[in-house]
């Protein structure tokens, strides 16, 4: 057995994760060709690097198939019910910051708060005969947030990409999506709601609460945690 560490398999998130571990004396690298999803670990014994899509890491942690994993707060909260009981936060890594927000068209000059959104949704339903559509891929987080804030007469429509374009394409009236600078929102003539911040997210190192560990694995885990300066 070995301690399995799941890391996003491509892009900036992978590079930054490699940098973060590298700064703590643990070398992570993709092995073999660019296309091969296998990795190598240097500087610590008994740790195996598993390259995965960031979106799959929460599920793999919850199932106990990997011991450690780097992914966004947003994905863990969205995909895992009772997430605190299934994974533990070891460290927030200080990159991959993004906010899950609710945005509406800039031309809605009458809408700036959730209170406005709720009132506009009621009027919209009366006028159009269906509930105001909010495009998102974060169904659970957005629904919980809107319920807590007492917003009614909306519906969530699934959008797995190019969410900001849905309003212009008339497939949604508003969006709930991840943004870091707001650039894409502005370019698509959308604006944030003043109180529409659903969640602040960043890349985070999680430990599975259910992954099986044999004696030697525990020592590896303890050594790794000591090296990284994180508390198990």
């Amino acid at each position: 057995m070995s301690v399995k560490l799941g890391v996003p398999s491509k892009g900036r998130l992978m590079e930054k994760t490699f940098d973060w571990f590298g700064a703590r004396g643990i070398g992570l690298a993709r092995s073999g060709s660019e296309r091969e999803y296998a990795g190598a670990v240097e500087g610590v014994e008994g740790v195996e690097l598993v390259l995965l899509s960031a979106g799959e890491i929460p599920r793999e942690l919850a199932a106990g198939r990997i011991h450690l994993g780097v992914t966004g707060t947003d994905l863990v909260r969205e995909k895992l019910g009772q997430w605190e009981q299934r994974v533990a936060v070891l460290a927030e890594l200080g990159f991959g910051q993004a906010d899950l927000i609710i945005a509406v068209p800039q031309c809605w000059v009458d809408v700036d708060t959730l209170d406005d959104l709720d009132a506009a949704a009621a009027a919209f339903r009366a006028e159009h005969g269906f509930r105001l559509r909010i495009a998102t891929k974060y169904h659970r987080l957005v629904r919980d947030f809107l319920r807590e804030n007492g917003v009614a007469d909306y519906q969530l429509v699934d959008s797995q990409g190019a969410t900001e374009g849905t309003v212009k394409n008339l497939t949604a009236e508003a969006v709930a999506d991840i943004t870091s600078t707001g650039e894409t929102l502005r370019a698509n003539h959308l604006k944030l709601l003043a109180d529409g911040l659903v969640l602040r997210s960043q890349a985070t190192l999680y430990r599975s609460r259910s992954a099986p560990m044999e004696g030697p694995d525990r020592e590896v885990m303890a050594a790794l945690e000591a090296r990284l300066g994180v508390e198990g």
Partner: protein, 361 residues
């Protein structure tokens, strides 16, 4: 934990009691068209019900309760008056508490009748109470009808009353609206700026989406009208709070609500309904002197209850959900009746919980 067979046997026995009370046994499909439930409860139902789909019928929900299909069935081809009983599984998504079952048996009893609503309320309550004895359960009751009447009776604009009535079941937003309409909460700066702007649409960004410029303009006009409206008086807000704060046994609650009705005559009719119900309960042998009434009871449950509401709880196990719940849902028959409506009241028992509590007793 009781076995399935035990639960089924108890469910059948309970249903037999309801049949003896004149109810016709009905069955409903496990798969329900999602559209109806979503239109009724909004997106929140997705957090409570399992959704599945196929390429032909689209989204379907695993029956989260029986009331909606039973009402639909009655509205389509039911004779009047009618009483129904049913038993079967309901399915509830549980994402925050793994200890709560996501599938359990319900036994229900529903009365559809235009006459003697107070007596129908009392009959449902008494039948369910008898079915639960000899377990020593705590009963809670309330009346959403009184709160609805109070909102209608506020001295304020119709749009404000509509907004408050729409959020009776969302206490937090209801409170926020009340605070703002009464001038207790400050106007958000963005709202103030919008109202101060002579022509807010002049510099507006490009129009995108389905919500039209006319709709935006209509809401701005509504906001201007609202800003010009007199705030709801502190006295009236206090009266709403007084209703929500009532927490007494029925006779004292009635007395308290009568006092409130002196200052808020709009609830008088609803308070008379409560009085009729108390008398009807008394006639059916319910110890009304010991029965609790809470002014805010039922506000966080499913939106369809709009009159009498009740629940039976294990006093020693506050962690467990109610063993039985029920209430009046006249408005639901209107929504599902496509132009027709009929007063209706009913309740459900969870035989699995009942057996579990009997084992513990």
């Amino acid at each position: 934990m009781p076995q399935r067979a035990e639960i089924r046997a108890r469910a059948d026995a309970l249903r037999a009691r309801f049949e003896a009370a004149g109810a016709v046994r009905v069955e409903t499909s496990v798969l329900q068209p999602a559209e109806v439930l979503l239109d009724l409860y909004g997106e929140d139902i997705r957090a409570r019900a399992y959704v599945t789909s196929d390429a032909l019928r689209g989204e379907q929900m695993l029956r989260p309760d029986f009331t909606v299909p039973v009402v639909q069935m009655h509205m389509e081809h039911g004779a009047e008056p009618a009483r129904y009983t049913y038993t079967g599984e309901v399915f509830r998504r549980q994402e925050d508490d793994a200890a709560r079952p996501n599938e359990y048996t319900q036994v229900g009893f529903e009365i559809f009748a235009r006459q003697a609503p107070a007596d129908a309320d009392a009959e449902v309550f008494a039948l369910i109470r008898d079915a639960l004895s000899p377990l020593d359960l705590r009963a809670a009751t309330g009346d959403i009808g009184i709160l609805k009447a109070a909102v209608q009776g506020l001295e304020t604009t119709e749009p404000r009353k509509r907004a408050l009535a729409r959020h009776i079941w969302r206490p937090r937003r209801f409170r926020a609206l009340l605070e703002r309409y009464s001038g207790r909460a400050p106007v958000p700066p963005s709202r103030a700026a919008l109202l101060a702007d002579g022509d807010p649409l002049a510099r507006a960004a490009p129009l995108i989406g389905l919500r039209s410029k006319a709709e935006v303009a209509a809401r701005i006009a509504a906001l201007r009208e609202d800003a010009a409206a007199t705030p709801i008086s502190a006295v009236q807000v206090d009266l709403i709070d007084a209703i929500l704060d009532v927490r007494e046994t029925l006779p004292y609650a009635l007395e308290r609500l009568r006092d409130i009705a002196v200052d808020m005559p709009a609830i008088t009719e609803a308070v008379f309904c409560l009085q009729d119900r108390i008398e009807a309960l008394d006639k059916r042998g319910v110890d009304v002197g010991a029965l609790e009434f809470e002014g805010s009871y039922g506000r966080t449950q499913m939106e369809y209850y709009d009159g009498f509401v009740f629940g039976f709880y294990a006093g020693t196990r506050p962690d467990l959900p109610p063993v039985a719940t029920g209430g009046r849902y006249d408005a639901l028959t209107r929504v599902l009746g496509q132009g027709r409506e009929i007063p209706a009241v009913g309740g459900v028992i969870r035989p699995g919980l009942l057996l579990r509590l009997e084992d513990l007793a």
